[in-house]
């Protein structure tokens, strides 16, 4: 695929000083603030439409509903910024949940082992994705599509096509539904903690810098002496860790590992990333945007539900929101050019 480079052929007047970098900073934030504005508008709209909407129990319900998609979306933001894609996060998450279930329920291993086992499964899948992309040079779409189906199959095989219930496992449910901070479900706490971790990774570490560099111009990054293959493997592995965490959280929230679940989550996560202003062409994106994107989706769904809009129509609305988000993004870019 050809890289987008933004060298427009337009010449600038002689001696014109390049605009202050604050300008571009603001412009980069624009999609985010648009998304943020949308979120606020939705909140106002639904709170006017329904008095229940702003109740703490509803808000914490929205946050809880955001947790799984949000965590998945954080990891996938990294991959999308490299101009890649990860379709395996939905069913991958399910496989992680099932592995945790087998470790804790069938094998009766300690809680920590089950949790780490689930996360490690995610990391391994991410590593394999990264390896296929970097070493075998498979297009990310294909590598992760294959992994999506493999994970789906394995989840069914390992679980014996039956849900695994955690009812006998002490403290597992509390991972998502307990409240270390009173009133705030742990799943939401985990959402924020993983968000902060992803934010730091993307904006303050070498991994994040190379994520942007690869998405911006992989060839140039490579000949600058950066081992892009190694870093891509690492990036996909990190995304896999987020998938693993999401798997544990969803299992704890449902108090069971549901092997049939998972398909569709990847698209919702990718939608959140895109609504949040991350470019599918790579090189551009932010974790804060992704969080806002994930919130927009769950606020929409929750609000529509409270207004008793049919589920079928909820999907239509979310689809339209994605179109609008991508459209404003392309408008912005056109204005830039």
């Amino acid at each position: 695929m050809s890289k987008t480079t933004t060298t427009t052929a337009a010449e600038k007047p002689v001696g014109e000083v390049t605009g202050p970098s604050r300008g571009s900073f603001l412009r980069d934030r624009l999609q985010q603030s648009l998304a943020f504005g949308t979120l606020i508008v939705l909140l106002i709209f639904f709170s006017l439409a329904s008095s229940n909407f702003l109740s703490w129990s509803n808000i914490s319900g929205i946050l809880l509903a955001t947790a799984v998609i949000g965590i998945l979306a954080f990891g996938t933001t990294l991959v999308i910024v490299t101009a890649g894609i990860d379709l395996s996060i939905g069913t991958g998450m399910t496989l992680c949940a099932v592995v945790t279930g087998v470790l804790l329920v069938n094998w009766e291993l300690p809680l920590l082992v089950g949790v780490l086992g689930g996360i490690a499964t995610g990391a391994l899948m991410g590593f394999i994705n990264g390896f296929n992309v970097s070493v075998f040079k498979l297009p990310p779409f294909i590598a992760t599509l294959a992994m999506m189906m493999i994970a789906q199959g394995l989840a069914l095989v390992v679980s014996g096509v039956r849900p695994i219930y955690f009812s006998g496992v002490d403290g597992f449910k509390e991972i998502a539904l307990g409240a270390i901070i009173p009133g705030l479900p742990n799943a939401v706490l985990i959402l924020f903690l993983t968000g902060i971790a992803a934010f730091l990774l993307l904006s303050k570490t070498l991994l994040g810098r190379y994520t942007f560099a690869i998405g911006s111009n992989e060839e140039a990054t490579k000949i600058s002496g950066v081992n892009t293959g190694k870093w891509k493997i690492l990036i996909y592995t990190v995304a896999g860790i987020f998938t693993g965490i999401a798997g544990v959280v969803i299992a704890a929230r449902l108090d069971s590992a549901q092997p049939q679940l998972g398909v569709g989550y990847e698209l919702q996560a990718i939608a959140a990333v895109i609504i949040g202003g991350t470019s599918l062409m790579g090189g551009r994106g932010s974790i804060l945007g992704t969080l806002i994107g994930a919130l927009i989706m769950s606020v929409l769904i929750n609000g529509l539900r409270i207004m008793s809009v049919q589920t079928e129509w909820q999907n239509v609305v979310v689809g339209v929101v994605i179109l609008v988000a991508v459209f404003t993004d392309s408008l912005r870019r056109r204005r830039e050019a």
Binding site: T7, T8, V14, T205, R209, E219, G283
Partner: protein
Amino acid sequence: MNAPLLKVEGVSKSFPGVKALDDVHFDVSRGEVLALVGENGAGKSSLMKILSGIYVKDAGTIYLEGEPVEITGPRHAQDLGIIIVHQEMNLMPHLTVAQNIFIGREPRVLGFLDERRLNRDTAVLLARLGISEFRPTDLVENLTVAKQQMVEIAKALSFDAKVVIMDEPTSALTQTETDTLFRLISELKASGIGIIYISHRMEELSRIADRITVLRDGKYIGTRERTAVTQHEIIKMMVGREINENARPATMRADNVDDVVLRVEGLSTKKLLRDVSFELRRGEILGFSGLMGAGRTELARAIIGADRTTAGKIFVNGVETTISQPAHAVAKGIGYLSEDRKQLGLLLDRDVNTNILLSSLGRYANFLGFMKTGPGKGTSRKYVESLRIKTPSIFATTKNLSGGNQQKVVIAKWLARDCDILIFDEPTRGIDVGAKEEIYRLLNELVERGKSIIMISSELPEVLRLSHRIIVMANGRITGELTSNEAEQEKIMDYATRISQ
């Protein structure tokens, strides 16, 4: 004297279907500028990519300070002190200047990036190099091509270099920026660094080269002391035949003078253009001269509908026409050959044939939309031959052609489209002397066949040689118009430096 700084012996390299380098040798000493010249596809960039660890050589030895070295990758070359400024831009547009310059060498504290130090180090570097056109925190995508090139150069000079390789560094630079670069080069020389300098601009060689090495078809032809050789001799070594350099255009046939094919009236854009009006006549080459940034590319883009205009009218063959996107322009018979070919002109992953036929595909489809392959291939072959595009076949991937040959493919594409009005933006940038002559000949042939050409060029000799009339722009306005008889370098420069009115 001790061993040369860098010495290359018997280096060969083959790609499928091409022997890019065949037993090549050369050396460069401390504090010396070695110019490496040769036609498009002669193997210059391949040789430099071997030195910088991007390609692996098939045979030969590289000596650094007398010791044989096996260069294993870009990182290794950097560590050895061999630094390259690539022919193609190799920057990450979404990152800042500082982030680009120090990519792979980011300062860190406790595992986290130290952005403050990164920007400080970059500011120090830019100050040392005397570059004030951009700041460490500017995003590279917001810089002009010329400034991006300066970022590349600053990046190369930020290393602790022993050998600096520059592959056509000036092809996108303005005169002042070129002067800045040459000043930097003399500083590098003074500090004992060896420089390998690749360029198609012959006049530059006499300014900075100490010795000149010539390659042709991947083979070593010879090395000369610059003071002991004339430009003419070098060109002859490069192309292996005599070429006639200074032919002026046949003056336009008088009967065409009133036949206006394109009239632009009062064209303005938000950014730069102010009230631009001119006429283009049938069978004419209209040269557009001016400094970089004068607005010539903007004018072309406004005419073809790539950028929005705020005022003005365009008449094609006397009929007022609204052109709101490039497809309309093509439909009206106006083709634009963009200055930035890599980004805007080519499908690099597709073959030469596809690229040449891209804008004229409709002509090679039957009524059901299936492609007729035969006639298309004939057309492609014709242009590959007449433009001397060096490629193993018309089905070779365009990405694998040398820089100059890629350029020729874009030219072939527009020639194949057969537009009545062609706008060429810097048509010979990065193209070797022999092929330039070929392109000049083609342009003349086109106008003789009744086509009309707008030629934007920063190379004055080229404008002077080809144009029937010359329009000079400065700061988004037309500041002067000259006929080919009255045009001379000084007059053009005088108009070009007039700021408005």
